[in-house]
């Protein structure tokens, strides 16, 4: 995938992505300084955790349903035994099943699974939240790629 395409709405110099970058860098520095040095898989997991946490904490997203749901999910991950972090997902369903929404396009169900907190949203809100989530996710990917490039040179 070509990551160098200039994309709209992804100004890397906006305050939102600066906060996101700072948060991620701080987390990365903490992970790097950890002693004794964790195993490669544990470190990968911590970095991935930090990536999603930075997304959820950026100033644009902190008002969003998806960021609250994501933070909740991250906290659940942290409380489980390390070996099971990425395999166990407990979801408490507090809304009626999605089969009761026949007026939505079929793909909306998949979208609800992909966007944190998507299950409880009205379709209208789901579309809004998805747009915000995608922009944040893309900014995080760009940030991580920039870091990799900077450190590898």
């Amino acid at each position: 995938m070509n990551r160098k395409n200039p994309l709209p709405n992804s100004n890397p110099n906006s305050p939102n992505s600066s906060m996101q970058a700072l948060h991620f860098l701080q987390a990365l520095a903490r992970i790097a300084r950890a002693a004794p040095k964790p195993a490669h898989s544990a470190r990968t997991r911590q970095i991935r955790h930090a990536a999603y946490a930075s997304m959820a904490h950026s100033s644009r997203s902190s008002r969003r349903t998806w960021s609250r749901a994501l933070l909740h999910r991250l906290r659940q991950w942290q409380q489980q035994r390390p070996g099971r972090l990425l395999t166990v997902r407990r979801r408490v369903r507090i809304v009626t099943p999605i089969t009761s929404r026949p007026e939505e396009p079929a793909r909306a169900e998949t979208l609800r699974q992909l966007v944190p907190g998507g299950r409880g949203m009205e379709y209208c809100n789901l579309l809004e939240e998805t747009a915000d989530y995608v922009q944040c996710l893309r900014a995080q990917v760009q940030l991580m790629q920039t870091l990799l490039d900077a450190f590898s040179s």
């Binding site: 860098l25 300084r33 970095i47 579309l127 991580m144």
Partner: protein
Amino acid sequence: MSSWRSRSRQSNSSRISEEQINDLVSKLQMILPETRIRNNDRVSSARVLQETCNYIKSLHREVDDLSERLAELLETTDMTSSQAAIIRSLLM
């Protein structure tokens, strides 16, 4: 005013929100990268949703992959010495 409010409630509210939904779907279409139908005007909203799902999944995979590579990098690089320069370049 109360008369406006009662009129809008009596009108077909699903038509109003359908326009709203179409606006949101086209906004979503603009966010998708160029290779994924952004410039195509004749795309159905179902297609936009499909491409959005694919895009999100690929972004998740990228986060996983980049986390792995960053972890490798942390093992071999002295992070703290270059951290200040990186931060400066990112925030400017």
